[in-house]
Amino acid sequence: MNHFDALTYSRYVDDDLAAAETAAVRQHLAVCPECAAQLRALENENRVLRSVLVEEAVPAALRARLLTALFGQGPSLGPAMLYAGGILAGIFAGVYYLASLLESESLIQPLSWLDPMSSGSWVDWLFRTFFYFYEEGWTMWLNSVERLAALAAALVALRAVLPWLRRRWPSLLGVTLMAVLLLWLSAPVASAVEFRHAHGAVVKVAKGEVVAGTLVAAGQTVVVDGTVEGDLVAAGNRIEVRGEVKGNVIAAGHTLIIGGNVANDAILAGQRITVEGQVGRNVFAACEHFDTADAANVAQSLFAAASMGMIDGKIGDSLVAAMGSLQVAGAVAKNIRFRGGRFSLLSGAQVGGDLLARTRRPAQIDPGAQISGRKTLEIIRRTPRYMSGSFYFFQFVWLLAAFVLGVLLLKAFPGFYREASEAVGSVWRSLGLGLAVLAGVPVAAVAVGVTLVGLPLALITVAIYVIALYLAKIFVAAYLGRRLLQIPPAAGYTSLGALFLGLFILVVLGNLPYIGWLIKLVIILGGLGALSWQLYQRMKPSSAA
């Protein structure tokens, strides 16, 4: 008698055989008592297994955890949000107050944006940030980014507080962006935009010629001898404004000469910048060599960052400069604030207000120079930052701010927080992706931004990018803390202790001498990569789980 093999009987009792096979097995069982007994035993075993494998009582907390993860509806969310919001506000207020006590000048300036009464414009803020960056190195840059982090935290809080907004957040955001974009595109343009460009040649607005609206010009050389009724946006190797621009001048190039008359602001970047004419408002400049000639007249303030500078002519308000060396021979109606290597106030120079110069070498004030207000000359001494108490204080503030933001993220987007943090675990993917995003986004933003039409999109992209840079470390910290405490993912990402531990370790590692900056870079790359990966996962069309 041909018995079937044991596997066939196993599949038979599990109804896995085809009809023909099933029939054949049945025929055999009818005549083979041995196999029939074996089959009964198998069937009994299946019954045993089914009776042993029973449902389990679900842990009480699972439902709440799931709903919190999905919709952020934790039972204690409301008070937690208020609490966290209170701490955040307290931190900012505390930093502001203590900063004003500790160092009345240098810390107030970069933190002045915290002052709700401050009237500083965005451009002003941007330049202040740049100056601060120039003075303190790139680590301080992240501190300035706190402004955007605070904005992000506010958005997070808003999103968590309003359930309606929370549910419709993506569509609402989309609609808002579209509306902004449409408004931008369809807004009645006061003056038409004219584009002129010439590769390797001269773009010229000839003397007597009038460009009715804004002129966007690019070429080897851009020369404006005539009149531009709107703004002038120019890029080129050499840019010369000899005529009149009735709006702003925004220009970047190797050599920039503002010789004529600019009615509003001049925002300039280049290797060599010379202001010889009239500027109706402020000048913002970043370059290697910066000069203002005798005939120059800046009606308001001059902000400049440069390697070397020479100021002649008149400045209607203040001069704020960070430079390797600066010589001032002209007249500044109000204050001069300088920080950098050398500072000289030459004979004939006039300062209507205070002079504050913080220099590495002693400042040189000629006897013939006049200073109406207070004169403060300070020598910057480089002491190891680890030696000062304020270093530890600010590290602690940094830690606490990041922690509070982490808690807000966890409460508002628990699922995203958990998955983005866990994605850090795929180390090489995160680092690679992080590097690509870190380098790629600014390039993409510039590429989109130069089209002008895409400028709002570029600005939004940059804002998101900066926020992402700040958030990166939080995900790395959450992952690190969870791994160190050996808590499984689902529980590990609700543990505030793990987050705090992770952040603490990151602070310590990031401040190690010599390699701290590298570690910080790796942290940002890893976090940014994980964040980007998770965003990608969320945005791509969902496939079957």
Partner: protein
């Protein structure tokens, strides 16, 4: 709850009434949690996995084919996730390459050892034996006898060939008998 009701709830969630997802959880939580805890041989890991299953189900809800039982769809997600968890555990054996394995014969013939033990009302020792099974055997076994998935559905959930599933289940039971018998001898 009948399938039509479940389909209605799924539709409510898809239409934006996200709170209804809590009702789906209430219906299936015990089944899914039991499956995860048994497959992963740990209540804590089971809780995490059950949570992941529902999270994934929520996100992929729009891909659910209403013609199929919702429970089986959930089990597939749970199995998929648990299988990933098991594979990430270094000490678990999830190596399912059985092409080279020969001799699919029972080591225990006649009356099943499991049946004998059940008669002694010792379900706990069978559960303990199940927990000690290699993961590659435990997962398909639980999917078959707890979740009542067919071999085809198990194969799809674990991304294995159907023949592999049949062999794994066969081997799983054989291994289970061996473990139970051994523990009986030790008593």
């Amino acid at each position: 709850m009948d399938p039509a009701e479940i389909r209605a709830i799924v539709q409510e969630v898809l239409d934006g009434d996200t709170a209804s997802f809590g009702r789906l959880f209430d219906v299936y939580a015990r089944r899914i949690y039991g499956f995860c805890a048994r497959t992963l041989a740990s209540r804590e890991a089971g809780e995490d996995a059950a949570m992941e299953t529902f999270l994934k189900a929520y996100r992929a809800l729009s891909t659910y084919n209403a013609a199929l039982p919702f429970e089986n769809w959930l089990f597939r997600i749970a199995a998929n996730h648990c299988w990933d968890v098991l594979r990430s555990r270094r000490h678990e054996d999830t190596h399912t390459d059985i092409a080279s394995e020969v001799g699919l014969e029972l080591s225990e013939r006649g009356e099943g050892a499991l049946e004998r033990i059940l008669r002694q009302e010792d379900a706990a020792s069978i559960r303990a034996a199940l927990d000690s099974l290699p993961a590659k055997y435990r997962a398909p076994l639980v999917l078959r006898y707890y979740s009542d998935l067919s071999y085809d559905e198990i194969a799809e959930a674990l991304k294995l060939k159907r023949a592999t599933v049949a062999t794994l289940i066969f081997r799983a039971k054989d291994e289970l008998r061996r473990i139970v018998k051994k523990s009986q001898r030790n008593l």
